[in-house]
């Protein structure tokens, strides 16, 4: 039983690593974007990186083998069809008498000949590859954590994957929540802190895996996470928090007037910096890593190839650390903002 499981995992690993290698092999892309003309290696590497960072309506398993994903468009009613009807941007998709075109990952409304209709805006709710990975990750988190929760009914020691999760949950509680929020209030924020920590960490890690999708490196995802943090901070804040924003106690009146706009701005800057930090760190990591992989192909000498391979390996391990660090910092700063929102000021 156990051996069979291991065999399956090993096979999957080998399969995925070969597909990833093919994905990152820039030579394979020569006929993809160039439309007949061949590109030099530099442009190919650049386009591979750009392609990797962007969200797409396809889930590319292998070069040329892409899984179509559902497209959902709101255009005076819901239009639902698979992205395979775009044929990678070569064909128009028709749905209920409307025509749509896919151009560089963006969907436009067109007439039946393919001319883009101006000032006809549509809302794109499609399940893109980022959305797909988020849904899969949510399902994974839901299953593994409800399993962990259920295992406590049987006894104090969790089983299986829960054994890895339990110390991490305790880490979030003892090292992030309690020191920053305080013994009294930390409990009501624990669910959000745990969710955000594991969500970001696992998404970062899945981005480092072969086939990995750069989800936390897209600014929309980090914006949503920061927005939730912002709303929770503002809506659970006590009167001391608002007092420190609107009428800072203990300073002279002219100073209070100067501090008011600064403090108000500060409430927005805090989640904004959360958003930028996560997005920029993960994007920069992916760009550097993929550029180094590109350099392996660009280098002409075997010694240089080996050196760049070593550098890639080194940076890959660093990125694993960054994946954890960014999840930790996001959770930590979120806890810090929650802590400032519920702080009691009995001492002055």
């Amino acid at each position: 039983m156990m051996k069979a499981k291991l065999n399956i995992i090993a096979t999957l690993l080998v399969l995925f690593s070969t597909t990833a290698f093919a994905l990152e092999h820039p030579d394979d892309h020569s006929h993809d974007h160039g439309e007949g003309q061949t590109m030099d290696l530099k442009t190919e590497i650049k386009q591979t990186i750009k392609h990797h960072l962007k969200d797409a309506h396809y889930f590319e398993l292998y070069h040329g083998l892409a899984m179509p994903l559902p497209v959902i468009i709101w255009d005076n009613g819901i239009h639902l069809f698979m992205s395979s009807s775009f044929d990678h941007g070569h064909a128009l998709a028709s749905s209920n008498g409307n025509y749509y075109n896919l151009d560089h990952g963006k969907i436009y409304k067109t007439d039946s000949e393919g001319h883009v209709l101006e000032n006809q805006s549509i809302i794109d709710f499609s399940i893109t590859k980022n959305v797909l990975v988020i849904i899969l990750m949510c399902a994974f988190l839901l299953i593994s954590f409800s399993k962990l929760a259920r295992s406590y009914k049987k006894g104090p020691i969790p089983t299986g994957f829960g054994r890895i999760l339990e110390p991490l949950v305790l880490f979030v509680r003892d090292d992030i929540a309690i020191p920053n929020i305080g013994e009294k209030h930390y409990k009501k924020y624990m669910s959000y802190l745990l969710t955000v920590f594991f969500f970001i960490w696992f998404l970062n890690l899945s981005g480092m895996m072969p086939l990995g999708i750069n989800v936390t490196g897209s600014i929309v995802v980090t914006f949503s996470l920061a927005l939730i943090t912002y709303f929770i901070t503002q809506f659970t804040a006590n009167k001391n928090y608002w007092g420190h924003i609107f009428w800072m106690p203990g300073v002279p009146v002219p100073m209070k007037i100067i501090l008011l706009p600064i403090e108000l701005l500060g409430t927005i800057i805090k989640p904004f910096s959360l958003m930028i930090r996560l997005y920029a760190n993960i994007t920069a990591g992916h760009v550097v890593l993929m550029s180094l992989i590109g350099l392996i192909y660009a280098a002409q000498h075997w010694l240089a190839n080996g050196a760049f391979f070593g550098l890639t390996l080194f940076l890959g391990v660093i990125e694993l650390l960054v994946a954890f660090l960014q999840a930790y910092i996001f959770t930590m700063l979120t806890a810090l903002y929650f802590g400032s929102a519920v702080e009691e000021h009995d001492d002055h």
Binding site: D175, P179, S273, I276, R277, A280, N281, A284, L325, Y328, I329, M332, L333, L336
Partner: protein, 64 residues
């Protein structure tokens, strides 16, 4: 030189500044840990928060 060149020079300066800042934080944290090894956890937390704030400025400069 056009505006873009100056923007690039500015970004470089900001990255140098952010690097110096984070280096200073790291060095001070090392000193502090050497003096009080029992406070390592607290010092590390404070160090990471301060470094993250500086890093935010650096990234904002790079992406602006």
């Amino acid at each position: 030189m056009d505006a873009e060149t100056f923007a690039m020079i500015g970004k470089g300066l900001i990255v140098i500044g952010a690097g110096l800042g984070i280096g200073k934080i790291g060095g001070s944290a090392m000193d502090a840990i050497a003096r009080q090894p029992e406070a390592t956890a607290k010092i590390q937390t404070a160090m990471i928060i301060a470094a993250a704030l500086i890093e935010g400025i650096g990234f904002a400069a790079l992406f602006a």
